[in-house]
């Protein structure tokens, strides 16, 4: 069991500064990352993602708690003794060294024979498709190429874990999409455990085996992308990953009587209350609109906004709650919903999920 674990954080706390100016960057995070998985830390800026990576890399030591690598306590080991490598957000390529020297840096510091270093560098250059750039200096490379050098440099010493701190955030959209695919390929090819940090939920959903959602120094939910998206553990996760509409009502059994009227079937998230007045979430793309009055929730169209492939329709329920519905834009014409018109909203059972109360 435990030899399946790559990295483990046990109640890791990090407080920067002391006294009145102290900032709690991590408030006791416990986390298990499995060998060979692509794990993503997702959360808004300032929630402590970088800090957690620094504790694993050894650039900072925790105020309390432990970090384990392969079951061994490495909490206070200096970074140069940990078989963990980092791809920095700024790349941090050595400007005075060539691409090849950058990639070979780690192995050279480890004192590996020259031939082995040269061989690995050649292999890494091929892996990131930069064979022709070996003798260039970093300034002579484009942003995307620098990114790949940073990757190759971190992969060259074959670390047990690769840490990537928002590595794609400096790239433009098109390049970012390409690099997402490239990163995933590299991870599969090398089999190395990746811990990837991003604040971009789409990036997290498309690339990860599992995602850990963080907020304000705490880990809120860990799970595979589908679970995170369809079964958000709380209101923060539901609104941070994708968009959500929130409805209130009274729960009894598996039925929710909405404050806006009708009684609808619901699912319950873990730790959600079993009865009483509750909040439930539903994704905008899981709601359907029909113009004939039938069984469903009555609503009034407030506005429709064209987004290209999608059209967003904003509606108001009878109790005033605003709901956004995402529709596919038709090939020609608009979605045919007049502002002010009365419609009925329906959805599949299981789309509406009761969330735990906010602590």
């Amino acid at each position: 069991m435990s030899n399946d674990v790559a990295v483990e954080a046990r109640a890791a706390c990090k407080v920067y500064g002391q006294g009145a100016g102290a900032v709690t960057a991590l408030g006791g995070v416990s986390l298990v990352i499995r060998k060979g998985e692509f794990f993503t830390l997702l959360g808004p800026s300032g929630c402590g993602k970088t800090t957690l990576l620094k504790l694993i890399a050894g650039f900072e030591s925790p105020s309390s708690g432990q970090i384990l690598l392969d079951g061994q306590d490495i909490t206070f080991d200096p970074p140069n003794t940990r078989p963990v490598n980092t791809v920095f957000q700024s790349y941090a390529l050595f400007p005075h060294l060539t691409v090849a020297e950058n990639i070979g840096f780690g192995l050279k510091m480890l004192g590996r024979p020259k031939a082995e270093v040269a061989e690995t560098v050649t292999r890494m250059l091929a892996l990131v498709r930069l064979e022709k750039m070996a003798d260039r200096k970093p300034v002579q490379l484009s942003g995307g190429q620098q990114q790949r050098v940073a990757l190759a440099r971190a992969l060259a010493p074959a670390p047990k874990v690769l840490l990537l701190d928002e590595p794609l955030s400096a790239l433009d959209l098109k390049l970012r999409k390409e690099m997402q695919i490239e990163l995933k390929r590299l991870q599969v090819e090398t089999g190395i455990t990746f811990i990837f940090v991003t604040h971009d939920q789409e990036e997290a959903l498309t690339m990860s085996d599992r995602i850990g959602v963080m907020q304000a120094g705490h880990l809120l939910q860990v799970g595979d992308p589908r679970t995170i998206y369809t079964r958000p553990a709380n209101r923060f996760v539901a609104s941070f990953i994708g968009e959500s509409n929130f409805l209130t009502g009274t729960l009894s059994g598996s039925d929710l009587t909405l404050d806006a009227g009708p009684r609808m079937p619901v699912e319950r998230a873990d730790n959600a209350p079993v009865s009483g007045h509750v909040t439930a979430a539903i994704r905008p793309e899981q709601i359907r609109i029909s113009s004939d009055a039938g069984s469903g929730i009555a609503a009034k169209v407030l506005d429709t906004v064209y987004f290209g492939t999608d059209t967003h329709c904003v509606l108001a329920l009878s109790d005033g709650t605003e709901i956004t519905v995402r529709l596919q834009s038709p090939v020609s014409g608009d979605v045919g919903l007049q502002t002010g018109s009365q419609v009925t909203l329906t959805f599949e059972p299981g789309a509406l999920i009761v969330l735990p109360e906010v602590a």
Partner: protein, 267 residues
């Protein structure tokens, strides 16, 4: 940049004054250089081209000794200054500003803020006591004084270099298994090097050009080239001073051009 087709930034007479300033700035120096090749010994009447003043100056034992002494002092002083300035720059940059840091900064820049004559007098007083106590009369005093006032000149480019350096580079080195010493040796030092070389050159030029402090600190028979020239100019003007000046100017311009290219390349 402003739209210049409008010529909105042109102010009447400014260009004329500027051109005159540039001409007048270089005219005296140009005359001095030109007349160092004068066949006659006038500094105003051209009597034909000749290189006679150069060998003549060099055959003067006093000039030779002063030149060697100048180079000796400048080399030693600029090396010391660059060494301590590099260390100080490593100790004062790339971290949170503290009160101690600005103290170091003020101390290092102090020679720039005190008139040279005052520093000269203070050193004369201080060293005269030391000379009495220790009996040592050597070049050490000059080297020490020069090293001190050259330190700010060495410090500035090194500090600028370090401040422009990405802090993550050293973290990256540690991440890639470099020990603190290896990090210094393979990352920090090579990156600081251009700054240190630039600092060394500025310090060298500064030391080589100093007159006032040297005049006060030197013991008898310790003339450097500038103090030798100062004494000569007061006595009489002979054209070999022009030759010496020309060579000194040439050395300065070469070092400065190198400095300029060195510091410009990275931007």
């Amino acid at each position: 940049m402003a739209d210049r087709s409008f010529s909105i930034s042109r102010l009447p007479g400014f260009a004329t004054i500027a051109v005159i300033v540039f001409v007048l700035l270089y005219l005296p120096i140009a005359m001095l250089v030109i007349f160092s090749f004068n066949a006659g010994d006038s500094v105003a009447i051209w009597e034909g081209f000749s290189l006679r003043w150069y060998p003549e100056a060099w055959q003067n034992e006093a000039v030779k000794a002063a030149t060697l002494r100048s180079l000796q002092v400048a080399t030693a002083a600029s090396l010391i200054a660059t060494g301590v300035a590099t260390m100080a720059a490593l100790g004062t940059t790339r971290r949170r500003a503290t009160r101690g840091q600005s103290f170091v900064y003020v101390m290092i820049n102090q020679p720039l803020m005190v008139p040279e004559i005052v520093t000269g007098v203070a050193l004369l007083i201080f060293f005269s006591s030391i000379k009495v106590i220790t009996g040592y009369q050597g070049l050490g005093y000059l080297i020490l004084a020069h090293a001190a006032f050259c330190t700010p000149f060495a410090y500035l480019p090194i500090r600028a270099r370090l401040e422009g350096m990405d802090l993550a580079l050293e973290t990256a080195a540690a991440d890639l298994y470099a020990s603190p010493w290896q990090t210094f040796r393979h990352v920090t030092l090579p990156l600081v090097m251009p700054g240190a070389v630039a600092g060394l050159m500025l310090a060298f030029v500064t030391s080589l050009d100093d007159v006032v402090i040297t005049e006060f600190v030197k013991s008898a028979g310790q003339d450097t080239l500038p103090t030798y020239m100062l004494a000569q100019i007061r006595r009489s003007v002979s054209a070999d001073i022009n030759a010496i000046s020309t060579l000194l100017l040439l050395l300065t311009v070469v070092l400065l051009t190198a400095f300029f290219l060195l510091t410009r390349k990275r931007t």
